[in-house]
Symmetry: C2
Subunit: 213 residues, 2 copies
Amino acid sequence: MITLYDYLPSKNGYKVRLLLNHLQRPYITKLVSIFEGEGQTEEFRRKTPTGAVPVLELDDGRVLTESNAILMYLAEGSSFLPSDVWERAQVARWMFFEEDYIQNGIASLRHWTLTGKLARRSDEMIAAKRAMSVKTLTILERWLESRTFLTACGYTIADISVFAYASRADEAGIPLSPYPAVQAWVGRVRAQDHFLDTIYPYSIDRYSSGELP
Amino acid sequence: MITLYDYLPSKNGYKVRLLLNHLQRPYITKLVSIFEGEGQTEEFRRKTPTGAVPVLELDDGRVLTESNAILMYLAEGSSFLPSDVWERAQVARWMFFEEDYIQNGIASLRHWTLTGKLARRSDEMIAAKRAMSVKTLTILERWLESRTFLTACGYTIADISVFAYASRADEAGIPLSPYPAVQAWVGRVRAQDHFLDTIYPYSIDRYSSGELP
């Protein structure tokens, strides 16, 4: 059986959990207390050089890192990743957008906001993250105004990837109310079979509010 | 024939040009003067909602954005992207790493440095970018100490993607001399057949030093 190294408040971990739930695929969870330094142990760094979760491990010990790459691997052969080369590239396109725009905008700002780090950041840093977040949602709003999902292939791992943090922008202090097309898309994602609604707040981990090692 | 919408000083554009040169595949270039505002025209925004280059356009008008997604599409069926599902995911893993760590570290810092924007950034912003750049190169150094290329599949689009900016870290004020394994890997990439060595400085575009619209 596959093993997922995970940190429950992580929405990057959630991306993979959501897909696994859609696929109804069983897996073992091993929790990594990243704020307590467990991501930086020699043993974990052998699995992943960044020290970040999630990490997927196969029965034979082979590992795969980066949430979006894990989604691609697990979705292969399912409706969540098309087989056509052009369509696959369109799915990948939104996952690369997520990795750049969302990770460094909404995801980062949400993390600061929910763990109390915002008070330790300068106005300039916060303004840059807010500008990136608004830019991201503006791009998504315009795109989704005329579309059901991010690509023409129905609900795919592109939607799962972008949904993880974009749907929680309010927790980064960016309300979704000015973005009705994004809100409608969030509703369509939440209506999918085997949607996973379990959210773990940072407060379950008393180390979360510290800086990462 | 395929068309590449490109901005010559962009190393994201260079990634695609490098692969096309390796493949010896002919293409049409259409230049987009992004700093002059051409990325924000209604016509170009219909091709790409971010307004960024590169954009790939097929004969029938279909478009693909995000340099890493374009690499995946163009490399399909070649030695630059393996067909095995697990191996493909390992290639994707480094491309997602690039999109997050490198785009927001070395690439961003290099852009500020080469276009004179560094003087307009706070010490805190610059320190954060430098820390991300050093972290990235430290991860790559450790990884490449025992490897020829980023994955076990030989030279792939993972190497092309990471090479584009990581090889130019010195232009971001981060010398590569403390990273001998990275330097050796840079040499191995440069030794590949049909390596593309043409670099276009920002100075070819008199608008480059302005802020993006």
